[in-house]
């Protein structure tokens, strides 16, 4: 009987988990062309990708946007969680409002931000203009486009991560803080010496989540270019996920796209490993 109860999941797993993974590997070893003929290619697709400037540009874009988005986001989420952990009125309402971005649709939000970042009439340029900054073409230039997309990601996820951090903070025993206060530790010191190290398990969860989400980024940059996976006229904000979709579903080079999918997976593993090592060191001694 137990097997019957878990079987629906594992049947689905075979059909929509194992099968696509195995076949992605299989496809990646073949050369497909538009006429539909296939030819054994060995590791040629991988070799070609590693020599493909477009692929590397997508990798750089993805990693850069991931870093620009994640580093400030983690810091902000931590401080926000710390603030949310205080006593104040309208607690639930405030917690709900910081989660509001999460429940709005990604595409809708990207549309709104794209308008906010419009060159000639966007609100962002108008505000910057008040400080004497000339209008930026957020979509045309590489670094500005990364920043614009990173803010969309951060808007969506900072509140969510803050709530997760908050949950972690509430599991920290209060007597730790009381003991520290008696020893004369300032509140700032308590945050760095108690809160941060005790949050490590939560942080691993949040950082892994952000790594997977950030390195597979697709919706925001695609919508930023009106639903086109080119990622701008020069591919300046094309991510690896967009590159895969372009190769697979516009160029119909299935083998190439499949190989790129495996390299993306490798990138995620590397990213997860680096983050894991980094988080392990946070807070130093425990």
């Amino acid at each position: 009987m137990p097997y019957a109860l878990v079987s629906p999941y594992f049947i689905l797993f075979a059909a929509f988990g194992l099968f696509p993974l195995a076949f992605t590997l299989y496809y990646s070893l073949y050369d497909y062309d538009l006429a539909g003929t296939t030819e054994w290619a060995g590791l040629d697709n991988y070799a070609a990708l590693l020599a493909d400037d477009d692929f590397w540009r997508a990798v750089v874009n993805t990693v850069a946007m991931f870093l620009i988005a994640t580093v400030p986001q983690m810091l902000l989420a931590l401080f926000l969680a710390n603030a949310l952990n205080k006593r104040f009125r309208f607690r639930l309402a405030i917690r709900m409002s910081v989660l509001l971005p999460l429940v709005t649709s990604v595409v809708a939000v990207a549309v709104v931000f794209t308008q906010l970042y419009a060159r000639d009439w966007g609100l962002v340029n108008w505000i910057l203009g008040a400080f004497g900054v000339e209008n930026t073409n957020w979509r045309a230039e590489r670094v500005p486009s990364w920043i614009a997309i990173a803010t969309m990601v951060d808007w969506r996820w900072t509140g969510y991560n803050a709530i997760i951090f908050l949950a972690g903070m509430q599991t920290i025993p209060r007597d730790l803080y009381e003991a520290a206060a008696i020893d004369g530790a300032s509140r700032r010191r308590q945050f760095w010496q108690i809160t941060l190290p005790m949050l490590r398990p939560t942080m691993i969860f949040v950082v892994l989540n952000s790594t997977i989400g950030g390195l597979t980024l697709f919706s925001e940059p695609t919508t930023f270019y009106n639903g086109n996976v080119d990622g701008g006229s020069q591919g300046q904000f094309q991510t690896v996920a967009m590159f895969i979709v372009k190769q697979g579903f516009r160029e119909f080079d299935y083998g190439y796209a499949a190989a790129a999918a495996w390299l993306l997976f490798l990138l995620i593993l590397i990213g997860a490993a680096i983050n894991f090592l980094f988080v392990r060191r946070i807070g130093g001694t425990k």
């Binding site: 137990p2 999941y9 993974l21 104040f88 509001l100 429940v103 549309v111 509140r187």
Partner: protein, 276 residues
């Protein structure tokens, strides 16, 4: 407890966070209720105008956008996936948490591993070819089926059942002669209802927002709401009020769910985070 009362800085920070979270949505409403001339004026308009109803009617009546169809399709997809995922996960969670069987731990590890692999991005090529050979491209089936696989759901329900349904309860029911499915229905289901609600709300929101796979496997003729917005955006790129009225329509169902279940969503998220 004076130590826990907020400082001025904390209050300011919370205020800014609430403002920034709400602002883009407010902005959506401002543009959606204005005219196209207002949308591109400098300085930008800061207050809502009076054209919201008009703009929404224009979106719904736009033949090319198929917006109503998109809303309906998204509703079907999200509902079917949510109901199926909740049932599959509850059954598997009960099994993993309360029943002993050979290979249980190994299977549970397998579930955890599937959570770590971004299958939607990784397996997109074979999944698409599969849908082509089944002649399912352009249909909702193609969107629904791959998402029935949800490792997070099984994991969440396993954790939840472990804590909500003690083994003794299951064993007592068994001594009374209840069959396994009966125990699931009479003992487990009532106890894990809050966990099911969290999983259900979560799944519904994820499905409503899903973008990459529907963009690949559907056509603009039979879109989900996200695809409908994308085609609006591509075809009428300068008709801001039309696009913004569409985006506003697309988030209304989500906001409604959120307002209705806000307490459970916040509570569930926080509980899930600590247990995971």
């Amino acid at each position: 407890m004076t130590n826990w009362s907020p400082t001025i800085l904390t209050r300011v920070m919370l205020g800014v966070a609430v403002f920034l979270s709400a602002f883009p949505l407010y902005w959506m409403l401002v543009i959606a209720s204005r005219t196209n001339a207002d949308a591109v004026s400098v300085p930008p308009p800061f207050l809502p105008g009076g054209n919201l109803g008009e703009n929404i009617v224009a979106v719904l009546n736009n033949e090319d956008a198929k917006f109503l169809l998109g809303l309906t399709n998204s509703f079907i997809v999200a509902t079917v996936v949510t109901v199926s995922v909740v049932i599959i996960s509850t059954l598997a969670g009960f099994s993993f948490a309360n029943l002993n069987f050979k290979g249980r731990n190994l299977l549970l590890v397998l579930v955890l591993l599937t959570m770590a692999v971004p299958l939607q991005q990784m397996g997109v090529v074979p999944l698409y070819r599969l849908m082509v050979s089944l002649e399912w491209t352009g249909t909702l089936k193609a969107v629904i089926l791959p998402y029935l696989l949800n490792g997070f759901g099984v994991f969440l329900m396993t954790q939840y059942t472990r804590q909500a349904v003690p083994m003794e309860l299951v064993e007592a029911a068994r001594v009374d002669g209840a069959a396994t499915l009966r125990i699931w229905w009479n003992v487990v289901l009532p106890a894990v209802r809050p966990g099911m609600a969290v999983l259900g709300i979560n799944t519904f929101m994820l499905m409503w927002n899903d973008f990459m796979w529907p963009l690949i496997v559907l056509t603009p003729d039979n879109p989900t709401v996200q695809i409908a917005i994308t085609s609006l955006n591509a075809r009428f790129s300068t008709n801001y009020t039309l696009i913004f009225a569409g985006t506003a329509l697309s988030i209304i169902p989500l906001i409604a769910v959120f307002v209705a279940f806000g307490r459970q969503i916040v509570g569930g998220l926080m509980e899930g985070a600590v247990k995971a």
